[in-house]
């Protein structure tokens, strides 16, 4: 790793973990790829259509209200990430989910110098270079909950300080963009998948800061839940909503959520 500082912030790098099958992907291209593939297979996507209410009769969902009218349905899969707690309220139940912003930023483009994605768990910062030459810098969540996507100076200062520790030459670079997304955090950093208190209303929520990489398997597995009329596959049984009532949290934070 040519330009990496091996003694960042007085925490010398003694060893590294090389994740052989790790990779990065263009998230927007993946989302549009899925949209294209789904619509070719007959799925209707309604953009700019916001669910504003959920119709429930005798414990079963019969339709959703939207800003463009009512849609009747045989079942619902709720997968609205940061707004999970808000939308579940419309269906009449609470979720153990809190919304936290997660911020990231991009520098001006430079010639290729960095192929792998480099992440420091000590500094809680990751750096990688995109195919356009920009450097993406990201790290931990905001320190307190918010349903807003503003960027803060504090997060930028903290992350840039860490990124410059890792790659000192970056102090010469300029930031080009910054953004934030609202992440749906659970207390065990694991998702909530499967059934809900409403009979035919299924959940895929609580993915928090690491749901992108799980998208393909989530899609297949939630499709199985729908097709079987609510039979929960073994794969996602540990992620049921009722695990919290039984203090059966999933012990995953170190493995997946803290650093990626």
């Amino acid at each position: 790793m040519p330009s990496l500082n091996l003694d960042p912030a007085g925490l010398p790098i003694l060893a590294g973990l090389w994740h052989l099958d790790g990779a990065t992907a263009r998230h927007d291209a993946v989302a549009w790829g899925y949209a294209k593939g789904a619509t070719q297979r007959g799925v209707e996507l309604h953009q700019l259509t916001e669910v504003t209410g959920v119709d429930i009769e005798a414990g079963r969902v019969t339709g959703v209200q939207t800003n463009r009218g009512k849609v009747s349905c045989g079942c619902v899969v709720q997968a609205v990430s940061g707004l999970s707690a808000e939308v579940s309220r419309m269906a009449g139940f609470q979720l153990p989910i809190v919304a936290y912003p997660l911020q990231a930023m991009v520098t001006q483009p430079v010639k290729p110098f960095l192929d792998p994605h480099v992440s420091s768990s000590a500094l809680h910062c990751y750096v990688h270079q995109t195919s356009r030459g920009e450097i993406v810098i990201g790290g931990g969540s905001d320190p307190y909950p918010l349903y807003g996507t503003r960027s803060t100076l504090e997060l930028k200062e903290g992350l840039i300080a860490s990124a410059v520790e890792m790659f000192p030459f970056m102090s010469e670079m300029r930031l080009m963009r910054q953004w934030a997304g609202i992440t749906d955090m659970t207390s065990d950093y694991s998702p909530i998948m499967g059934l809900s208190p409403v009979e035919n209303y299924y959940l895929d929520a609580g993915w928090g800061t690491w749901g992108f990489k799980a998208t393909p398997i989530c899609g297949v597995t939630m499709a199985e839940v729908v097709a079987s009329g609510g039979k929960v596959p073994d794969l996602i049984a540990p992620f049921s909503l009722d695990r919290f009532d039984a203090f059966r949290q999933v012990n995953e934070m170190g493995a997946t959520a803290a650093s990626h």
Binding site: A85, E86, R89, Q94, L95, P96, I97, V98, A99, P143, Y144, P145, L146, Y147, G148, R150, T152, L153, E154, S187, F244, D245, A246, F247
Partner: protein, 100 residues
Amino acid sequence: MKILTCPLNGPRNIAEFTYGGQVKPMPNPTEATDQEWAHYVFYGDNHIGVVREWWMHTPSSYWFIVERHNQTDEVMRTYDPAELFDPGASPATEPVEADS
């Protein structure tokens, strides 16, 4: 920098504070069922609007209450917990009325 006003120390940089979760009524630990306790620990009203929260001024370890809009991040009011909790009463029996 965002400034938060500590009732004890005055206006301070937000980086000096630690968020401590929503203020919610605690069930009596000796009488609550496991499920009631789980609900208290894991669930909260994460609705968009004005929320009442615990915050600590970290250098002085002083805990206080903040009323904040959780979408605009506007702070309405900060005050000492004595306004909500009777310091002499058992915390288990002190219900807190949520307003929004």
